[in-house]
Symmetry: C2
Subunit: 413 residues, 2 copies
């Protein structure tokens, strides 16, 4: 095996997840198993890297609870960024600066944990290295609650968010159902996912022996028809006194506008003249209240759903670690310009392995929920989807509680 | 000891909590320890009771996981109501109907788990019984996430909501802080509590060695000044790039209006002409964005904070059970027209016992956060408050996970 003799660097990019740090832990463990000298972390991704804002992970992970606490820490331990590398032409200085930093810190391999946009960074850098005879290796490690990266079966981060969404939905459904005897109440729960409905689809998990689940789940993969929606809510409200609707934030009208753009109306701006900040659940709550007279309540799961490491899926944590580990193994084996992908090789019992795939087929790509996994009426998910998602939310890893609250690992200031 | 020879009934009323069912469990266990024949549950509180909508708790708690699952089930297992008994005069039929049901089911004692309004039901019924020579006993068991019942040191339900609020705040603070390098971002987190700020105050718990906490916590106990608030946010944003604000939904302007009534402006109605549904966080997010140019994000914890039994405080669950247990003991000892109250008898280690108190001094009363527990600048809580709240969030009781999701006990249909 082609080993890594020098140092490595790992960074986090894009929106964080509950388990993105488990991938850092996986990178670290693999590197140490392999005898890598130093594992640097870039503070705030490639942006921090350009400014040589690096920390030595050894300082954090070889003391105290180390990796165990890191695995239980939500959001990017290293800090993240949304910086996209410019085209090489005309920006050679940026690229040369990156490689100069790599040489200065004797970095042989660069690991970037992120989603679609972040994989573009891996692609640009590995392409540049290839074109300029640089020997450093660049490997992407998938991460996104949105679960929208192509090729990979699923993405680390998704399972934990799905677990949080389904759990929270079960809890708020019980809450709204307990009131019982009044006029119909419509609960609208808004879930992340601008372009892909994977997260909203996880709402379908709530249904079971002890929960009626949502009456409908709307994804951005299907056009949203407000009139039909109101008609449906009305009809459910005639049969029972709570109506529960799960909505992807990304649902769109036939004309292509996001429902949330409607706000209080098509030209909705608030008194200050700027666009309403509210989401589709609040928008539809207003419309439903107006047209049906039902009571409505909108809940937006917001960043809670991607930060709730106290309810992370153990499967997800373990896979996030494995993805990091596999990334280092790939680089050690000489690979570059690839992303780690997950391949499901067995359903019962669930079994998933890590492979790698050419980054050019992944960067900037997007995988949405297959239309055949959405029920014909556009309001639910099929059993095939449930079979896909169920293993991903399984297992728990107890937080480290200190005085009643989960403890987290933080960078020194 | 004056024992209960016949049956008893227990009901739940008002907004549910994560541990309101633990009080049912406590009532049940005490009754069984005492040899009570049958423990009835009223479905949807006094409203269901009037319609003889009763279930035998034995059918649920003597099989399967029984009490252990009930303790881990959020929201009212029995269903709740917001029905307030009418004045006796002119409504004698309602009262006679209640006592007729009690006699038909041989019910000697009536336990009502609820908040301020629900305690009014206990008062009315015990007063009626006293005035009409009825021997049945009526005991209130405190429950409210709002923590606003008088006399009692705190209320079951509050500790778990506080734990959820502080945990979630820690997680979303990490989320917003991770983005780091852009222009200031203001995170506004809206917390329940229309008149009392106890829940919002719990946001102060987030601050610790591993978390900066909120930059300010605003309670309804102090008048809210929008100009001063914006000035404060601006000044924090000049020093660091994330500003975190915790807000009680009940904060009010100097003229007495709720901040959330402002909506997008003083006369804010949406395109349909009805009042905006959005809360104060969204309202203030718009104002801050307009006046400072900072990026803003509003998160409303909504009913999640009172339903999250997956993150309940063990102390809270145990105290909720004890309160139920103590209620039955009090009735068995001949007491009626009382509510169970919690008396803190020691700080280190924390020790709390159950007493009873005359319901007339509790019903319809309200206890707000003492002004001396709010810092002079009106933006924080004192160490005295933290000492008060810390013990209430301690300990965890693991949910029963089935296929990755917490299982709940439900009534048969």
């Amino acid at each position: 095996m082609n080993k890594i003799k020098g140092n490595i660097v790992v960074g986090q990019s894009g929106g964080p997840t509950a388990v993105i740090n488990a991938s850092v832990a996986g990178v670290y463990r693999a590197a140490k198993d392999m005898g890598v000298k130093k594992v640097y972390g870039m503070v705030h991704g490639i942006q921090g890297f350009l400014e040589k804002n690096l920390i030595a992970l050894e300082d954090y992970l070889e003391t105290g609870m180390g990796i165990e606490l890191l695995k239980r820490t939500p959001s990017s331990f290293l800090g993240t960024c949304r910086y996209k590398l410019p085209a090489v032409e005309g920006n050679e200085a940026v690229y040369e600066q990156i490689f100069a930093v790599m040489e200065e810190f004797e970095i042989e391999a660069f690991f970037y944990i992120g989603g679609n946009d972040s994989m573009d960074t891996v692609k640009m850098l590995s392409d540049y290295a290839a074109a300029h005879g640089k020997l450093q290796r660049f490997v992407g490690i998938p991460k996104t609650v949105d679960n929208d990266l192509p090729v990979t079966d699923h993405c680390p981060g998704y399972g934990s968010a799905a677990k949080y969404i389904a759990t929270s939905l079960k809890e708020v459904i019980r809450d709204v159902q307990s009131t019982g005897l009044t006029k119909p109440t419509v609960l609208l729960v808004e879930i992340m996912g601008r372009h892909a409905g994977w997260l909203a689809a996880a709402a379908a998990l709530a249904k079971g022996q002890d929960c009626d689940g949502a009456d409908a789940v709307y994804l951005p993969e299907r056009v949203f028809d407000i009139d039909k929606f109101v008609e449906f809510v009305k009809s459910v409200g005639e049969k029972k006194n709570t109506v529960v609707i799960a909505l992807s934030e990304g649902i769109r009208l036939p004309d292509g506008r996001f429902v949330c753009e409607l706000g209080g109306g098509a030209d909705s701006v608030d008194v200050f003249g700027h666009k309403q900040l509210s989401g589709c659940a609040l928008t539809l709550a207003g419309i439903v209240a107006e047209r049906t007279g039902y009571k409505t309540r909108a809940i937006e799961l917001s960043t809670l759903q991607r930060a709730a490491s106290h309810l992370a899926s153990l499967t997800d944590i373990e896979e996030a670690m494995e993805a990091g580990y596999a990334g280092v193994m790939a680089a050690a084996g000489g690979e570059t310009g690839v992303m780690v992908v997950m391949k499901r090789i067995q359903e019962q019992p669930y079994l998933c392995t890590m492979k790698t795939f050419d980054i050019h087929h992944i960067a900037n790509g997007e995988k949405t929920v297959p239309l055949e996994w959405i029920t014909e009426d556009g309001r639910g998910l099929t059993e095939e989807f449930l079979q896909y998602v169920r293993p991903l939310i399984k297992g728990e890893l107890l937080p480290v509680y200190v005085d009643g609250l989960p403890a987290h690992l933080v960078r020194k200031k």
